[in-house]
Symmetry: C2
Subunit: 291 residues, 2 copies
């Protein structure tokens, strides 16, 4: 057990599901710290307590954050603003607040508006990790090991607050990197949000064909990978689309144009150019050492 | 060892790579049969012999097929027509010819044109199986176990020829189904060829962005699955695009329209409709029990 020099005695986690629960379990293995859970569902919170993720819990957000040195908000993107409003007025002067939202611009805007001069203590974060299953029952202390966590502090964020959040994430075994809010949202739109859109659209398209049962039966390698992606939580992805609409629309347009170009080359019989695209893609994957 | 009542004594495999080699290894475990390998590269054929896939080999196609009761053509789609021409004139009156091409219309058209009245002995086939690695060194006797093999006999194909080919595939542990040439090409365009196009286009698109190194580093779950698909052999996929151009263009157009519809809904703030699409896709996957 590591002690944190008394700087961090109480951590409150709002939203004790897969992300919040795994954070708690990982920290419990490393730190002697009191973790307070908060959520709407007390059965879920009781389960989190039984699993050893949290020490105690509250369903009232104001009560849950009072006395906390740090608050980790791991609720769906669509609930962030409401949670911030409920916390406001109950936070200590130096309480650090951080989050796990997978798009950052809208979360930062809400935090700056609601927390006002206390927004200097808000450290926007995004752990790039997950599982197909959700809920605290799927939480794992090792979920973040060797995974990336991106922190996107703004110009006004206090460096000491960033350092404290970074220290906790490092204890979970994650790699921490920092980038701007805008850059984060662009990179994630390209690498995660766009691929999810493509998978959802493909599965929905094929499910509507008259011979969809047969089509799904013959699902070869390629399609199977797509359906796995399309099994992700629709509400979470709805929230991501709302939050990261601008960057995502740009990526969708760029993709559509590139697909149409391939379509035209095929239609025109320019198959050498078609092959060149396939070769570039294969080479890019090799060069960039994607495993 | 099962004996085939003397009906099948010599099998010739043209193209002893992953597909041809795995077919040979699986049959060698089940049948007392002479397998002749044929290809352009005698080092590869010698390796196939050392691995126990084939008994002997020829680099001349005419010599390789003479005396064969059945010929299995497992060459790239782009080489099928040339191989058929080289076989023509060297086949016995009742020699059955079957293939492993992943699009069927162009292969059947070539067979009917080249084999003329002997095309009744041609059984078009497509084993839906593969690995990321290719070549006979990647061949496995169990590659086809529990995998689907589609046979697409035409109206003129001899039923006895279909039955013989089906019997051999059953010995490899595969499930055999039959459908029309046109239907096969449509189903595969939807479930395999279109997903590969999407993956290639996405990887090529992101590889060209200025921060591609960073983008690939942050490759989250979704993108990683796409890059795996885009690692497939560019020449094979070029050949598939040429052979199945019509069905594939139709699927690409349907996909583009569906993607544009989602794009418009997002741009217009119709996020309930966006969520409904995600829910339909998730539900379709569950209903159709894709694993």
């Amino acid at each position: 057990m590591t002690h944190t020099n008394g700087t961090l005695q109480q951590l409150t986690i709002i939203g004790v599901g897969l992300i919040g629960g795994s954070f708690a379990l990982a920290l419990k293995q490393q730190l002697d710290i009191k973790i307070v859970g908060c959520g709407r569902n007390s059965d879920n919170l009781e389960a989190a307590k039984q699993l050893g993720a949290i020490d105690t819990y509250e369903t009232d957000i104001g009560k849950a954050v009072s006395g906390a040195d740090m608050v980790f908000v791991a609720v769906p993107l669509g609930a962030m603003e409401m949670v911030f409003r409920a916390m406001q007025g109950h936070l200590g002067a130096d309480t650090i607040v951080t989050d796990a939202g997978s798009a950052k611009a809208t979360v930062v805007a809400a935090a700056e508006q609601i927390f006002a001069d206390k927004a200097v203590n808000f450290v926007p974060g995004h752990p790039i990790a997950g599982r197909e299953k959700s809920s605290v029952h799927a939480a794992l202390p090792e979920l973040y090991q060797q995974r990336r966590v991106v922190l996107t502090p703004t110009k006004q964020t206090k460096p000491e607050a960033v350092a404290q959040v970074q220290t906790l994430w490092e204890l979970t075994g994650a790699f921490i990197t920092q980038m701007s809010v805008e850059h984060h949202d662009e990179v994630l739109a390209a690498t995660s949000h766009l691929p999810h859109m493509l998978a959802y659209v493909l599965v929905d398209l094929l499910a509507h064909e008259t011979d969809s049962k047969e089509i799904f039966q013959y699902a070869a390698g390629g399609f199977r990978d797509f359906t796995r992606i399309a099994a992700s939580d629709p509400v979470m992805w709805h929230d991501i689309c709302v939050a990261n609409k601008t960057a995502l629309l740009e990526q969708m347009d760029a993709f559509s144009q590139h697909l149409m170009q391939l379509r035209e080359q095929m239609a025109n019989g320019q198959f050498d150019e078609v092959k060149a695209l396939f070769q570039r893609a294969q080479q890019a994957r090799e060069n960039l050492q994607i495993k």
